[in-house]
Every structure is written in C-alpha cells, then in structure tokens.
C-alpha cells in the first residue's frame, strides 16, 4: 500500500484522492471543493449585484432573487469559507506541531466526504426543484411556510455537511492535544495552531445546536412534527436561538483561523516574532469564550426585553477588547521589523484597516439601542462583509499565496498575485463601504428591488461595479493558478526565506510521512531558532525508525454516499403518490451503517515504512 511517489495514471490519481487519508491530500480536496463553491457563491453574488444595479430591475424575479441571496450566504459560509479554512488547517497544522498526520486520518477523510456530499446535495436544489429561499438564517415561520423542497435541501444538506465539520473539529482537537512533537508545549505552539485549537473547541460546542435545530426543522417539514408551528403550540423564536447559538460562534470559527494566518504572515514578513504572544493566545481564548455569550445580539429586535438586550449588548461590546489587543499586537509585530511586501503581506496589511472598519461597526451594532435602526438593513450587510471578506476572505487569499508552495511545491506568481490584490481590495471597499450609508438611508437588506427616487441609485451602481472588480481579481487568481501549475517550478523548504515555524523546515511539498524523525522543539518559532543558530534544519528528537502509516480507505466515501442517498428518500417521501421515498431512506441509512460496520469488524492495522527506505530518501524530510 506504500504510496511512494511514482508516476501514476490519471485514474490512479483520482482513486488515490478518493481513498486518501493523508492530511495534505485532504487539504487539496478541501481547497478544490471549497474553491469551487466559492466561485458558485461568487457568481450568485454577481447576479444579486446585477439585479440591484438599477431600481425596478427585472434581471431576476423576486422569487429567484430570494433563492440567490439564500444560496449565496449558505454557500459562502458553509461550503466555501469553512472548507477553505479547513484546507489550511489540514495542510499546515499537523506540520506546525511536528506530527506525521492528524490523530484520526480515517475520520479526516470522512469529514471531507460528508461536507462534499452535503454541499452537492444543497446545490442540486438548483436543478431538481427550487433552491432554498428563506435566507441563510432560514427563520422558522418563513421556512416552514415555504412550499416545494427548497428548505428541505437546506435542512438535509447542512445536516450532512455539518456532521463532517463536527468530525473535523474533534479530530483537530485530539491531534493538537496528543500529537505535538517533543518540546512543543502549548505556549510554544504557533499562533495558527492555537487558533485551530480554539476553533475546534468552538466547533465542538457550536455545531450541536445547529444539528438539533436542523433536525427539528427536518421533522417539521418532512415528518409532520410541529416544533415551530405556533398554532400547534410550537415556537418559532426557539429556531432563532438555536440558529444563533450556533451562528455567532460560527463567525468566530471563521475569523480566528484568519487571525492565525495573519499572525504567521506578520511575523514572517516582518522578520520578527509575534509581539505579545501570550496576550495573543489569551485574546484568542477569550474571543472564543465570549463568542458563546453574545448570540442574542442578532435578535435585539425580536423582543427579548430590555434586560436581555442590555446584557447581550454589553457582552458584545466587550469582544472589542480582545480584538483590539490583537490589532495592536499585529501593529507592534511590524513595528521595528523589516517588512517585505509580498502578496501575502499585502493582504495582511490591507486586512488591518478593513477588519478594523468591520470591528467598529460591530461595536455600534452591539449597542442595542442603535441596532434597532441598523438591524436588517444594508448597514448590517456592509458590517458582516467587512469582517467576513475583509477578515476571512483576505486571510484565505493570503494563506493561499503563503502556503501554495508548501501545498503544491511551487510558488504562485507574485506579479499576478499583486494584481489580484489590487483589484479585489479596491472592489471590496467600493462594494461594501457605500452600503453602510444605504442602510442608514433606509434600505432594508434582502430586498429584490428598490423604487427610484429614494436616493439609492448611485450608491447601488458603485456597489455593483465594485463587485465586478472583485470578480476580476478572482479571475486573475485563477489564471495565476493555471500558469503556476503548468510551469510547476519546484521550490525548496523555505521559499519565502523567513519561515519561522516547523512547516518551513520540511520540503515543499513535504513527504507523505511529513517528518522522517520527529523534530525537537526548543521554543516558539522552532525553525527560526535553529536557523538563527546557523543550523540547516531541526534537531531530531528520536532515532531513525520504521514509520507506522494508515492505509487508504474508500469507506469514508461510502459512508457519506449512504447519507446522501438517504436524504433524497427523506425529502421526497412526503410527495403525493411517492412510494420509493421510505425504501430509499432506509436503504441509504443501511448503506451508511453497513459501511460503518465493515470498518468496525475489518482489522486495518496500517503499514510500516521500513527504516531502509527512509535512508534512501535522504533528500526528503528533516535533515538530521
């Protein structure tokens, strides 16, 4: 089963990716799938902006517009941002802690395939029936009232995808707790690993409420329950709570890894260790903790009463404190440094003012009494795009350029990278800055059109032009990826020259077993310490020995496929005259359970890479 690098055919490569349990290949899968969904979500955004280009436009119908806005939000959060963040976590975190893989490689693969099948299921709604149309929040009274299967696609698709995320989160938690290299104490972990750690804990606590909410909705819509039907004694507000108890931490699940990526970038390209590392760790943990205390600020106008609103307002504003600490720490990481403006660094530098803008409007929104005006207007749209695009998406672009050599062994073109940056950065601010004012002038969000004469025309044109600039930036990035892949100029271990953490001590891409010998970590920025002492690589912490590796497996794909099939049965069984729904549902679930059963009874002890083979491989891995 050894997958030592050999020339293989196309079919073999596909099969390899379908069965892989290697965190680096799973990272490729997350990157490709997440990137694809990012393009789909972006296309939906462009349609939205074309529709809003002028008043009373009829580019899309009112109903289709609601589907577009719902799918744009859902796709971008669950199917683009989350998996792309997971791509970098998978690619980098195990390397940063000096591990040979994640704790449960099989589960890692299962997490990916669950996400992919969930995402595919959700997007099939465009072709099979109608897409979900109650917003990415899918508030219960509206979503329960919808006819057709749109909302069913949402509930079932997210359920499957969410399961994958939960599994991934648990896996990362166990990995970071148990698999750190000798000497890698918690307070020596790179910042990106720290944020992965905190985020995994957030996933562990935030996804179950979503799972519960989605189950209740699934049963309401497909199996005749009445959890959200007020006339039957149900309650729709409970959905809002479930959704936001998940939904607010979700925002931090996205932004904390972004903070992690930027922390790495600021340190690398300033040639300076992260300023105030321990306070950064503290701030990360505090943000994660407070993230669970503020969900009701999404519900200030729901009518929870002045006491609840006041408590949640103050808690929300409090988050500004640890976030502020981070901003200043980044600034002072650069202060006194030796800054090189590479593409990743440009994104990082641009992130500070962009994210700050989203942060200050966040405080304003957190102040409940003002929020009554901002709530559900374009002001909110502007705010969360400033934090999610200006924070998360900037980090994803920065991370893509930074880690491309580590993931694929070749560098993205810097000139094209900078063109992408300029186009996207200008487009981003054009699109969203003006939307603050649209909201203040009285334009609600999620409107498919607006009437002329309210002063919204010019601003919407500006906003739409900006969206196209962003699209142009993304296209340049795609061209860059193609050119880079075709040229495929291989680079060495530390292509940026200033790498500080363990991943830069390995070849690009690293061998499939990562570390020939686990490295000895002697402090924060382990690789930097060795470099400064004139060493070429890490000191090994163990003698050369056989390496135990897990076998590839097709079972994760099958487990996920079973749920995918079952979802169709669950969705269609209630249709008039439908006879195949229940059998398909049962078949799908049995298929999944059967696959799990096979996995349980079949002994799979993996394989060993013999010592001799590693000695031959002297140009790879850690140089002793």
């Amino acid at each position: 089963m050894s997958t030592n690098a050999q020339k293989r055919g196309f079919g073999a490569t596909i099969w390899d990716y379908l069965t892989t349990v290697d965190h680096k290949k799973i990272a490729h899968l997350y990157l490709i799938a997440g990137g694809l969904f990012f393009l789909i979500g972006g296309l939906e955004a462009l349609f939205i902006r074309i529709q809003l280009l002028k008043p009373n436009n009829d580019f899309v119908s009112a109903g289709l517009f609601n589907e577009l806005l719902t799918m744009h939000g859902t796709t971008m959060i669950f199917l683009a941002a989350m998996p792309l963040v997971f791509a970098f976590m998978n690619a980098v975190m195990p390397l940063q802690i000096g591990a040979r893989d994640v704790a449960f490689p099989f589960l890692n693969s299962l997490g990916f395939w669950l996400f992919l099948f969930g995402g595919l299921f959700l997007n099939l709604s465009w072709f099979l029936d109608a897409a979900p149309n109650a917003g990415w929040t899918s508030y219960a009274s509206l979503s329960i009232a919808q006819t057709g299967h749109g909302i069913d696609f949402y509930a079932l698709g997210l359920q499957i995808a969410g399961l994958g995320t939960l599994i991934g989160g648990i896996n990362f938690l166990v990995t970071i707790i148990n698999m750190r290299a000798p000497g890698m104490t918690y307070m020596r972990m790179p910042m990106f690993t720290w944020t992965t750690f905190v985020v995994s804990a957030l996933i562990l606590f935030a996804f179950p409420p979503l799972t519960v909410g989605l189950f209740l909705m699934t049963f309401d819509r497909m199996f005749g329950a009445n959890f959200f039907d007020a006339a039957m004694g149900g309650n729709t507000i409970i959905w809002e709570h479930f959704f936001w108890i998940f939904g607010h931490p979700e925002v931090y699940i996205l932004i904390l890894p972004a903070f992690g990526i930027f922390s790495e970038i600021f340190a690398i390209f300033s040639r300076k260790r992260l300023f105030g590392y321990s306070s950064m760790v503290f701030a990360t943990v505090l943000i994660g903790f407070l993230g669970f205390m503020v969900w009701a600020h999404h519900m200030f106008t729901t009518g929870l009463g002045p006491i609840a609103n006041s408590i949640f307002a103050v808690a929300t504003m409090a988050i500004a404190v640890p976030t502020g600490i981070k901003i200043f720490n980044w600034l002072f990481t650069m202060w006194g440094g030796s800054i090189r403006f590479t593409t990743p660094m440009l994104w990082a530098v641009a992130f500070i003012p962009s994210f700050l803008m989203g942060g200050v409007t966040g405080v304003m929104l957190g102040s409940a009494a003002q929020d009554y005006q901002y709530h559900d207007t374009y002001f909110v749209v502007a705010h969360f795009h400033y934090v999610i695009v200006g924070g998360v998406v900037f980090a994803l672009f920065a991370g893509a350029h930074l880690y491309w050599p580590k993931m694929f062994g070749t560098m993205l073109n810097e000139v094209l990278g900078k063109i992408t940056f300029v186009l996207f950065f200008v487009g981003f601010h054009m699109t969203f800055f003006i939307q603050h004012f649209l909201g203040l002038w009285g334009m609600p969000r999620r409107v498919f059109t607006y009437l002329p004469g309210q002063g919204f025309e010019t601003s919407n044109v500006v906003s739409s032009i900006g969206a196209f600039l962003m699209a142009a930036g993304v296209i340049v990035l795609l061209i860059n990826v193609v050119i880079t892949s075709v040229k495929n100029e291989k680079v060495g271990n530390d292509p940026w020259g200033d790498g500080r953490t363990l991943e830069w001590a390995l070849s690009s891409p690293p061998p499939y077993y990562n570390f020939k010998q686990l490295p000895l970590v002697r402090g924060l920025d382990a690789y930097w310490i060795e470099k400064m002492e004139g060493k070429k690589g890490m000191t090994p912490a163990e003698p050369l020995g056989d390496i135990h590796m897990p076998n590839n497996s097709f079972i994760p794909f099958l487990i996920s496929l079973g749920l995918f099939i079952a979802a169709f049965g669950a969705m269609y069984h209630g249709d008039e005259g439908n006879t195949w729904g229940i059998p398909v549902l049962i078949f799908g679930l049995l298929f999944t359970l059967g696959s799990m059963f096979v996995r349980s009874i079949k002994d799979d002890h993996g394989y060993h890479i013999p010592k001799e083979e590693l000695i031959d491989d002297n140009d790879k891995g850690v140089k002793a």
């Binding site: 307002a313 500004a320 200043f328 002072f332 650069m334 803008m357 405080v363 003002q370 005006q373 559900d376």
Partner: protein, 357 residues
C-alpha cells in the same frame, strides 16, 4: 490669485454641503434625519459612537502609517526579536474597556427607555388607555393598523398624532415581519406567537403632508418583502381627532355617488367584500381579516403599499396583482376583470373617502 483662492473656498464649501446633504438621505426615510424622539436618541448615539470609533481608528491609522513607512526592509539585518511590552499591553487593554463602558451607559439607558410601555398598560375602567395605542398586524405584504381605544381599523397608511408617544402592539398573522419607520425610530419584529410592544414619537416640525414618512418591512418574508411598504401620516392632535371622529361616523358602507361607481360597488360587493371591509369598526376578529380595510382608500397616498395613488396604477394592480406583488394573497381570488369592470371598480374605490360632517 486671491480670487482663485476665494473661488476654491466657495467650491470647497459647495462640495462639502453637497456631500453632507447627500450623506444624510431623504428626510421622510433616512435614519440620519431623525423625525421623532426615538430616532433622535438613536441618531445621537450613532454620532457619539461614530466619533469614538473614528478616534480609535485615527490612533490605529497613525501607528499603521508609521509602521508601513518606517519599517520597510532596507537591508538584510535581523531585527530585534521583541517578546512584548507589558505596560503597552495593559494600556491597550484598559483604554478599550473604558471606551466600552462609556458607550454601555447611554446604550443601556436608551434600551430601557425605548422599552418603557407602562402608559399603554395603564387601563381605565372600560379597558381603554389614555395613551394612543395602535395594534399593528403584519400580513403577507400588507399592514393593518387597528386603534383599539378608538375602535377603528385601517390599513397600509398609518395615521398618528404628532408630538406625543404612540404605543404599538406588534404581531404577525402568517410569517415573521418587522415594523420599521426609519425616520421615526428603530424597528421591532412582528412575531407570529407573541405581541411585541414599543413606542415611537413623531415630530410635528418634521412631518411633511406632501412627503409622508416611509415605513417598511425589515424582515425577509417572501418574494414581495421588498414591496411591503407603508406610509405614515403624522397629523396635529386636533386633525387626528377629527379624522378619528370621521372614521367612527361611518357605520355602514358608504354608498357610491355616481352611476359608474355604483356599478363598481356592485362588483365589489360580489367579488371583494369577502376579504376587504369598507367600514372602520373592528367587528370581525383580527385573524379573520383577510385583506386591508378600504374604508378610507380614496384618501390614501399609495396603492398596494408602494405604487403611486392614481387610477392607472389601481387598474393595473386590480387586473394583474401578481406582476406588481409576486406571491401576494389576492391573486386568483376573483375572476378576470373586463376594462369596463375595472373602470367601475376604480371609480368606486377612489370615491371611498372619509369626509367631515
């Protein structure tokens, strides 16, 4: 040269005024041109917090610019690896805490102030209250306004007295909506299962009879969410009382005055009256009121919530409601109307006015 400088100054001011006026939006619609106590307090909070935030951003901007200018890579030297600085870290932890506290005080005080609805809860012996109360019932794409003390119902156009607190009971009859009059103050949701209460006040100096305040639905409620608008007519107390009296005087459906309108009334009584009431008394229970009350339709300023109030729009709306408000509940509840029938109905509906004695 001097003239040029002067000209520059003038143009600068002109641009500034232009930008400022462009930045505050339309007076009947914008949160930045508050027309009542609630909106004013919210506007003051916005300005206060914006100034505070700009100060924070200025500090960051200064450090940011210095860093980017001063610390570019010039040589291959390895900079000093600084771990941190406790004094500075404490400063940028404590100052934000103080700023948050400074903002928290007016926030909490305003939250409690906006939620203070004691006056509407104080009931007289006959169950009415001294404060003006409006029950707002939101429906798929239309608004009903019931005045429980005055025992009248109207729809689509909210009529309120100026310079006094108006209290609202908010509920939705189908899916969740949100009641928002930007110029008068922040919104509150119309939930399906519970009544939300809050108050607004409308400033007589800002009320313009030619450009009524714009109200809208702020919570996604379906295809026509964007078109679920309403108007707010704010009248001096005396005029408001007069309007209430006029409404109360209509006990029976008003008879049409012209022949054409009479034909219209016959059509109306056959096809429309099942859902649309033309008397203001609230005899029908709230959840059985299927469509807006049309008692004072002829006096209103909008058709279907957002179209300009004229005969052509009314005919368009009646002949093809689906085009004008996708997903509305009126489509298909009556047969196709001939042009003659449309003329007759229009004449009748436009004649539904509430006159003084």
């Amino acid at each position: 040269m001097k003239r040029l400088a002067k000209w520059r100054l003038v143009s600068l001011f002109a641009i500034l005024t232009l930008v400022l006026s462009a930045c505050s939006g339309q007076p009947y619609l914008s949160t930045l041109q508050p027309a009542g106590e609630v909106a004013k307090k919210q506007y003051d909070l916005m300005v206060f917090s914006t100034i505070m935030m700009i100060a924070v951003m200025a500090v960051v901007a200064v450090i940011f610019i210095i860093v980017l200018v001063k610390f570019r890579r010039k040589d291959d030297k390895i900079p000093n690896q600084v771990e941190g600085n406790h004094a500075m870290e404490i400063i940028w932890t404590v100052i934000p805490i103080l700023l948050v506290l400074v903002l928290a005080v007016p926030t909490v005080s305003a939250v409690f102030n906006f939620a203070d609805v004691d006056a509407m809860e104080k009931k007289n012996e006959d169950g009415t209250s001294d404060a003006l109360v409006v029950n707002v019932r939101a429906n798929l794409y239309w608004w009903e306004f019931e005045y429980p003390n005055e025992k009248i119902v109207t729809g689509q156009e909210l009529i309120v007295p100026t310079d006094e607190k108006v209290y609202f009971n908010l509920i939705a009859s189908d899916v969740k909506h949100s009641f928002w009059i930007p110029a008068a103050g922040g919104k509150m949701d119309n939930n399906t299962e519970n009544v939300n209460k809050f108050w607004l006040e409308f400033d007589s100096k800002k009320a313009d009879p030619d450009k009524l305040f714009q109200g809208r639905c702020a919570e996604l409620c379906g295809p026509s969410h964007a078109l679920m608008d309403f108007k707010v007519k704010a009248l001096p107390r005396a005029e408001f009382d007069q309007w209430v009296t006029n409404m109360q005087n209509i006990k029976e459906p008003q008879d049409a005055t012209t022949d054409l309108a009479q034909q219209g009334q016959e059509i109306f009584n056959k096809s429309c009256i099942g859902c649309h009431a033309v008397t203001p008394s609230n005899g029908t229970p709230a959840d059985a009121r299927m469509a807006p009350n049309l008692t004072n339709f002829g006096d209103r300023n909008i058709i279907a919530g957002y179209l300009e109030h004229n005969e052509e729009n009314l005919k368009n709306w009646l002949s093809d409601p689906e085009t004008y408000k996708p997903g509305n509940k009126m489509t298909g509840t009556y047969g196709e109307l001939t042009p003659e029938q449309l003329d007759a109905l229009t004449a009748y509906l436009m004649g539904l006015k509430v006159q003084g004695e």
